[in-house]
Subunit: 352 residues, 2 copies
């Protein structure tokens, strides 16, 4: 395999985890922190490890503070963008406007950006249109799919998609990154894949809301019940499909999004949010309980909710097609205190 | 609400559980055991309870041995068929050929019946065609969706679909059965709903295979890893879609089937089968380990596998579209000893 130089910008868990498959393939890998990551880089330089990962970084990964990024990135075969959704504009201003447009970028940031008419843009789409306004023409590729960082590092077998418009760059990045535990599909359906893996945040909260409601009604010791989780899951599949049709995404991407929904239900912060909401906490109480943790899912859900409402005002969608999303948004943003799920709104009568 | 007489034939867990919503709506409910259920009926008569249910039957449920079925069923507004998939022909011969065709039937038996050309019939479709050969014309409705019996009894909120061609009967049965915890959609898409909820058996084994593989590689104490489960889930969504297209089912039914997949992954015998296969047991060892337990999922998976192979021989499908199903079938029926998942077969390149 041709040896590549790969620079990861952003030392969060996901960006850092991607150093493993890259380095294991023998490439020269650099992790550069953002302006907020100096402490993380301190730790990496000191220990060679992320505290939440089960093993240290391979030896051919090196670590750099943000101030060094322009020297480090020089000569890279591609850059992996590993900022959080709160860093999207920072990444645009500080990195993308300055980076040689010939160096391909693969972004792992999940989310969507809304416009005034309720359209939901992918981050690659948003970045490319902003760059175009400044006369910079480049493609930006992205990763989507069910992949938690610590399990990737653990080498639990993982399937993801890389999306973009530049087939040659996609194939080069796949070849550089694929491992016996990291399996990569390639697609041009950027808006579809990026939409599917953003939407799952809202629906993972919705399914885990059923977990929280169970605890609220039956106590912390009650074993989990799955009929109610499966009922919300069914509705999540239905609404995801409607949203994907709205976004013009392909079914292949929808499948990856549903796998991502599955993994998100069982791990991390989004699950905690949903469970807390089910237990009866409102937005302020949830954010307080999760103090210090990045609430990307809440932000993405709010953006989606506002966009769908705007589309409904414009007569482009019917809110009755999204009762589960609207229920979550009403709890989060409109202080709806009853988190019980609107089950009957999910039923239908399809009779001729 | 109009008071109904409802007779449930089959005293297994699912048939018995449906007595709860029916009886709570004030109807006169009779559970009649099959010829194999005499001991269960003994227990019900003695204790008024199923040992695996959290509460006793309501007072307006009565219990009967099979020999009494023809007297009991007389005057029923509808009959619920609660036999297992092994009782499909018994139900045809003993009940359906003798039952007044004016009494609607709602079946809760899950599965599919294959024909020589690899077509997969729903049980209602199979029964109706067999009855037609004997000059008996009747519609048979069915229940599909994510609903485990003990959680229904626990009143965990549950969403299901009733399917059939007789709209009036469907609406009557929905009105009789719906409860604040039991939510019912109605559809004419019998083949779609029945296919979706049968297919999930094979795919629930496939997803839980990833659980078993994890245990095999890392030991019983290892916490669950979800990337690999989500990767198989993604592929399950993809293959379910292809199978539903083949069956001519509607997307609404597919959504219910995916909810049913979700609930099946987390409960009961199908999960145990998948985990054991992942741990390296072959078909004989799995059936031995589960001795005494009805292995409906294994049977349904085998039927599906054979049908798909037959369709492939006839040039009607491409086996490469079903690598996950074929992997499960190869372990079960062809003694494939390596249960590791064919991850690369799930990847795709959709580039223009």
């Amino acid at each position: 395999m041709e040896k590549r130089k790969i620079t990861i910008i952003g030392a969060g868990m996901m960006g850092s985890a991607l150093a493993f498959p890259a380095a294991e393939n023998g490439h020269e890998v650099h992790i550069v922190g953002t302006c907020l990551d100096d402490e993380i880089i301190d730790g990496y330089l000191k220990t060679g490890k992320h505290e939440k990962f089960c093993r240290p970084f391979p030896e051919n990964v090196s670590f750099h503070y943000f101030k060094e990024w322009e020297q480090v990135v020089e000569g890279s075969d591609f850059v992996i963008g590993g900022v959080s959704s709160f860093g999207v504009d920072w990444f645009l201003e500080e990195i993308l406007t300055r980076l040689d447009p010939k160096i391909p970028v693969l972004s792992v940031t999940k989310g969507l950006r809304a416009t005034d008419d309720g359209s939901l843009l992918s981050y690659p789409g948003y970045w490319m249109s902003e760059l175009a306004k400044r006369g910079i023409v480049r493609d930006i590729c992205a990763i989507g799919g069910p992949c938690t960082s610590y399990e990737l590092v653990f080498m639990d077998p993982t399937e993801v998609g890389f999306c973009g418009k530049d087939n040659e760059a996609l194939r080069m990045m796949k070849q550089a990154m694929q491992r016996p535990y990291y399996h990569i599909s390639l697609t041009n359906d950027v808006i579809g894949l990026e939409s599917a893996v953003a939407l799952k945040n809202a629906y993972a909260m919705a399914v885990t809301l059923a977990v929280g409601l169970n605890i609220r009604w039956h106590g912390e010791e009650e074993p989990q019940h799955y009929n109610s989780q499966a009922g919300t899951f069914t509705q999540a599949v239905r609404e995801t499909h409607a949203l994907m049709l709205m976004q013009g995404g392909e079914f292949e991407s929808e499948c990856i999004g549903l796998g991502d929904l599955y993994v998100t239900i069982f791990s991390g912060r989004t699950r905690r949010c949903g469970v807390l909401m089910g237990k009866g906490l409102n937005y302020d109480q949830v954010t307080e309980a999760l103090a210090g943790i990045t609430l990307e899912s809440l932000v993405i859900t709010r953006i989606m909710g506002n966009a769908i409402r705007r589309k409904a005002e414009l007569g482009l969608v019917d809110l009755r097609d999204f009762p589960l999303l609207m229920h979550i948004v009403d709890i989060l943003d409109h202080g709806k205190s009853d988190s019980d799920i609107p089950w009957e709104a999910f039923t239908f009568e399809h009779l001729k």
